[in-house]
């Protein structure tokens, strides 16, 4: 009950509603400000100084105390100003595989001729990124969020805060930008042989590696099987290279949901398909994808790979029956 009330209050006070699309401008209503812990300590120091000034009739003591008081009061304005009218525009995100950090670039732009310093950006109050926003310029900060599972990842509530200029006040604003990052399923680790092309689908036999002819090396891409990495080349200091094989390139390969063992869960089956897509793409093979409810005709190239991975990322996994019905 209390928690619900608190949530309700939070939602009303901090305007924590639905994500907002487009740029977000920090208007006055969105910025909150409170004395920081140092601000409270500062007030205590001021009280002590005031007492001293009264006790010893030190008029310059009064001058100093009041000067610092005024500075503290004005710092509320300064700190508020450091966030005020700040425009935050979420940039396009790049899809990532589950298990790594999704990157959300946010572009900050100030209004007017004010240089803004040390604007902090945080989601969990633990990892903080700071940005300076000089007048008339924009600066882009990337918020990293661990992508734990496939699908569309939203950054959720992000806190922008500042203590600038003197650290006695803490001003903050919450933003919840409407921006998503596509998270592909995590590629299954290890070496998973690709299914046999054409009619041989459905059988567990796969092409042995020995059947392929070594075709050459190309630079490593994420998702490449570690087994295909040319470790000898890496040891020679040539960087990570992936061995390419021919033999499958000319044939059409169907990566089929049904080719994955039923004993695996949905996510694991998607992981395996992801692994296959990556490997097939890495090997330059033309492939198509068949999953329950969706068939992508064979093609090759990174566009095909992205299309297929997106389909896997957005696969509605709750319908296990679908998978069987489609068989």
């Amino acid at each position: 009950m209390l928690t619900a009330l608190k949530n309700h209050l939070n939602t009303w006070l901090f305007r924590l509603g639905e994500p907002e699309s487009g740029s977000i401008v920090l208007v006055q209503r969105r910025i909150f400000i409170l004395p920081s812990r140092h601000g409270v300590l500062f007030v205590c120091a001021l009280l002590l100084m005031l007492t001293g000034a009264i006790n010893y009739n030190l008029n310059l003591g009064f001058v100093l105390t009041f000067l610092l008081t005024a500075m503290g009061v004005n710092s509320i304005l300064h700190t508020f100003r450091n966030l005020s009218k700040l425009r935050i525009s979420p940039e396009r995100t790049q899809p990532v595989f589950a298990g790594v950090d999704a990157q959300f670039p946010l572009t900050f732009e100030g209004a007017g001729t004010l240089d803004r310093y040390s604007v902090g950006i945080t989601r969990d109050k633990k990892t903080v990124i700071y940005a300076d926003v000089p007048a008339g310029q924009s600066s882009t900060v990337t918020v990293d969020i661990p992508a734990l599972q496939r699908g569309l990842l939203r950054p959720g509530r992000v806190t922008l805060f500042t203590y600038y200029p003197i650290g006695l006040c803490y001003a903050w604003a919450y933003i919840n930008p409407e921006v998503t990052c596509l998270v592909y399923p995590r590629p299954e680790p290890g070496v998973i042989p690709l299914p046999l092309p054409d009619e041989q689908q459905g059988q567990d036999s796969a092409l042995g590696l020995g059947n392929d002819d070594f075709a050459g090396l190309r630079s490593y891409h994420p998702g490449d099987s570690p087994r295909h990495i040319a470790w000898k080349a890496a040891a020679r200091g040539q960087g990570l290279l992936t061995k390419q094989f021919i033999g499958l390139a000319d044939r059409q390969l169907w990566l089929d949901w049904t080719a994955t063992p039923e004993t695996l869960g949905i996510e694991d089956r998607l992981s395996r398909l992801t692994r296959w897509i990556c490997d097939a793409h890495a090997a330059g093979i033309t492939f198509g994808l068949r999953i329950p409810g969706l068939t992508l005709p064979p093609a090759s190239g990174s566009a095909q790979r992205d299309r297929c991975l997106e389909a896997l990322a957005l696969f509605q996994g709750d319908s296990e029956n679908n998978a069987h019905a489609d068989r």
């Binding site: 030190l58 105390t65 009061v73 009218k85 109050k125």
Partner: protein, 663 residues
Amino acid sequence: MLTPTDKLHPRHVGRLLLAVVMVAAPHVERLPWWTTTLGIMLIVWRAHSAHFDLELPRKWLLVLIVVGTMGGIYITYGRILGRDSGITLLIIMLGLKLLEMATLRDAMIMIFLSYFLVITNFLYSQSILTAIYMLCAVWVITAAMIGFQYRVRQPGYLSQLRTAGEILLQAVPLMVVLFVLFPRVQGPLWGMPQDANAGITGLSDEMSPGSVSQLILSDAIAFRVAFESQIPNSNQLYWRGPVLWDFDGVRWTAPRLPAPLQHEYLPLGVSINYTVTVEPHSRRWLFALDLPARTPPRSIMTNDFQLLAQAELNTRIRYDMSSYLSYRDNAAPARYELRRALALPSGTNPRSAALAAQMMRSSSSERDYVSTVLAMFRSQNYSYTTTPPPLYENPVDEFLFSTRAGFCEHYASAFAVLMRAAGVPARIVTGYQGGEINTVGNYLTVRQADAHAWVEIWLKDEGWIRVDPTAAVSPARVESGVASAIPESEALPILRGDHPWLRNARMTWDSLANSWNQMVLGYTPDRQRQLMRQIGIDDATWRSMVMLMLIAAGIVTLVLTAYLLRRLHVTRPDPVIAAYARFCANLERRGVERHRSEGPDAFCRRACAAVPELAPSINTISNVYIRLRYGSDAQPADVLTLQREVNLLRGRKYARPARRAAA
């Protein structure tokens, strides 16, 4: 500062050390030598460890230093809690905190301690110079505090100083409001440490040979006086201080329990009104011209017209006074008073007593006797000097019969003894005589060097009258001050000298100091009430003062808010558009006006045709502009090119179109 445990950068440590050194430095002259040494060691230690990124010392070592310091302070001062000992402790603690300071949180505490240390400096001096210096210190501290807040890129130190300066400057209006309107309470709130006001020189309530003449070397200001009308002549400026009745053969002392005023005197002539601002001298007496006509608030007048404040003067006090320079104080004194004014310790100064008796016998009246004694001083080779020879057991005898050289206290003492020995009641009045007129501020400055002693005798018909035996020896002393009265060979410090420009500079400075004292340091609870009355709030209560303060503070803050937020709304004009607009305006003056619908390219072609001699320049400008505005490959340097080209074009004479038109 979500991460107050961030490790401090050596740069931060350095700037903080600078701030700490600045606030602690003025204390050095008062600190025991070992504290200074220890303080310097601690600072060097911290700077060293910051520079080489070394580990900070262990806690137990710091605790050991604390204990040692406490012991040292106790041995030096005989106490731990006191003004000087407390500040010594605070400074060492600050130094130790430096060595413990590893994180941002510690650094902020150092900042607050430094601010606090600024205020302790005001216990010793609140002069203009101190204020300016401390303002610089506050500036440096604030800059250090701001420096902690840059998380991405540190701007240069000068830029941080500028930011700090701006922030402090913006705080001034609100500071003034709070200073004027914050309801003041008269301190102290609790007992001050006993050593709170040590080391102030000034008059004392006793006088022995040499006690006044030692003050002559002090240039310190005793008080300043602003007269309502003209400043009286110097020989009328007798500033009454402690009145000494009791003589033990060597020393004159004031009664321990002064009797309150029980009689009135008869004023002659008009009263003269003035305002006195007394520097703190940690005694109770206030000063007024002979004879005071009223009693300032929170003070009493004794039966010998001495003004005594209720409490010791530990702060500068300002009061309005009026006096009658001519008066007749002939009310019959109480018998015990006369007895006291005649008492001489038996057996001391016997030759003086004999001389007095002899002179009295040959005088026709007491008046005549007084003249005889003064004539003796004048005619018999007595001299006025600030360096009188030492006197021993019977100082008056030795002075009158052998040394014959003395300062005002010698003459006053000898005269009073001669009077008493002849049966004329006499008492010694100490105080100040004369003063320096500050022509810049039109007020009178009275310094410790103007200290003086004179005598009052009681004559049957005339009552108490003032006799200044020093004037008999050295008329210049009362006519034009002590500097002109003493022999050339005893020249005083240069400050009393008479270089015109030096004198002028000194007066200007003193006038400035006086205004500072009156307006800033003299703003007491009394003055605040007075100010409130002037703006129409007759009995300002605590509550109405707070209300007024909040309203004024609100207005000031609103104005500042508008000023600060203005920068959110103005936009710097785009330099590219601005430069192109200048270019168009320039061509318009040359007779080529750009139409509203005309694109830069079309305008360029038309302009080149119209002013062919400028064509290369017009082409360059237009091309750069088009690239900057519409192209995708513009370089930042292009903006500079554009601006330079436009400026070059504007610099070229444009008399051509007119000539062509004429042709």
